[in-house]
Amino acid sequence: MGFKKITTPLTEDTVIDLKAGDKVLINGIIYTARDEAHRRLTILIAENKPLPFDLEGQVIYYVGPTPEKPGEIIGSAGPTTSYRMDKYARTLMEHGLKGMIGKGGRSEDVKKAIKEYKCVYFGAVGGAGALISRSIKSNRIIAYEELLSEAVRELAVEDFPVIVVNDCYGGDLYDEGRKMYQNKLKGINLI
């Protein structure tokens, strides 16, 4: 199956066309945030203060890259585990966030919010940080520089490879994949 190419910011039309298991290439601007940046963003929202970037239609990538060497755009930049951001994800979706990129399962509440707000959760391949960095064409810190690797960055990406894990219809690749391949191993030795 081929890849679907999409461009950020995401519209509802783009999101409703994505189904769990679809391979997708993302183009455009995405933003990075991890645990502490999420905590700060949701505090700003609670206090009705402006955010470092407009969330409308945007995609947040859960990543804390390695430091770039001289001449490099970015260091190794694969996804971190997403459930740590579950506590904050609904609030961001309520305020316009359309997509999240990470790895690993989400809470029932986040999956519900993905349906309610017509959003999408993409999985990138964890531990493929060198490969993924090739899709990142620019990297600029826009907030919380003191958080070092965890600062909020604006990244321009080209054909950033992901797979749809949770779609806006309640589809869940992790659940479906596991069910499909349960008890399929027949006495195989991997080594």
């Binding site: 890259p65 190794s76 694969g78 391949v125 964890g126 993924i132 690749l173 391949y181 080594i191």
Partner: protein, 279 residues
């Protein structure tokens, strides 16, 4: 007596850290290649292909395999005929850790547990010492990422639960872990000892080379059983579904209290960054 300078130790540590963050270990690479041949799920195969391609790119571009370059974990074996000259052994390992993470442009991940403020140089390293005969200093290193470590578990089981109970606990731990610890995983299991000993043994079990058999027949049999059961969960590479959820299961056991049956499961991601140097 053999004298080793602390500077030699720091340099060896620095090398181990930088090298293993960029170059996927041979045993890991081979087992991932074997997994790709066996995997039957398309999405799972695709993930394994990306993982293997990533290893090529990391090597070629001298770039870390993964952005989570881990906490630095060491198992040190110190021969009784060794004297370390200069700063003490712990300090020399921490100095090497600092240099490795700074010079290698690796991510510094140690932070204060409450303020979450990054400490900036990835120290302190986590170091376990064992004292041996002879005049060798063996430094075994692993970069342990947070994603897989977070899904690890320890359970003080009842002796009556026995081997069957242990197998159920390990499989359940891997089911709950699902896609989070970047499967296919290496699963290290420590059985026995006490609360902290089981956890250290589980970590130590990860250091055995993939493909190297367990010298204890009973444990080797248990590893095979677990290997099949875990790969039948269906999680697959990166959780996208498939039959390759673990690359290897490694068990170490140790005598324990008559009242106890401690079991620790330490999960390791597919990057499985490790290396050793003997000085």
């Amino acid at each position: 007596m053999k004298i080793i300078s602390s500077e030699t130790i720091s340099n060896a540590v620095r090398y181990l850290i930088i090298n293993s963050s960029v170059n996927l270990a041979d045993d890991t690479y081979k087992s991932l290649e074997a997994a790709l041949k066996l995997e039957i799920s398309d999405a799972g195969k695709n993930a394994l292909e990306q993982i293997l391609l990533n290893a090529e790119i990391a090597k070629m571009e001298n770039k870390p395999l993964c952005q989570d370059t881990g906490l630095a974990v060491f198992f040190i074996e110190i021969g009784k005929d060794i004297i370390v000259e200069g700063v003490n052994l712990t300090e020399s390992i921490n100095e090497g850790t600092k240099r490795g993470y700074l010079d290698g442009y690796l991510r510094k991940s140690t932070c204060d547990p409450f303020t979450r403020k990054n400490l900036g140089d990835n120290t302190p390293a986590i170091i376990h010492y064992e004292f041996t005969d002879g005049d060798k200093l063996k430094i075994s290193y692993a970069a342990k990422g947070g994603g897989s470590e977070n899904m690890s578990k320890i359970k003080m089981m009842k002796p009556a639960e026995g081997k069957a109970g242990i197998i159920d606990f390990v499989v359940e731990t891997m089911e709950i872990a699902g896609p989070n610890p970047c499967p296919p995983n290496v699963v290290g299991i420590g059985i026995g000892g006490n609360f902290e000993k089981a956890a250290i043994l589980a970590k130590k079990a990860l250091f055995r080379k993939i493909g190297e058999p367990n010298p204890d027949e009973e444990l080797a049999e248990m590893e095979k059983t677990l290997f099949k059961k875990i790969n039948n969960i269906g999680t697959g590479p990166m959780g996208f579904g498939g039959i390759c959820t673990t690359l290897a299961v490694h068990i170490i056991k140790h005598p324990c209290h008559i009242a106890s049956l401690p079991v620790a499961v330490n999960i390791e991601c597919h990057s499985h960054r490790h290396g050793e140097i003997i000085l």
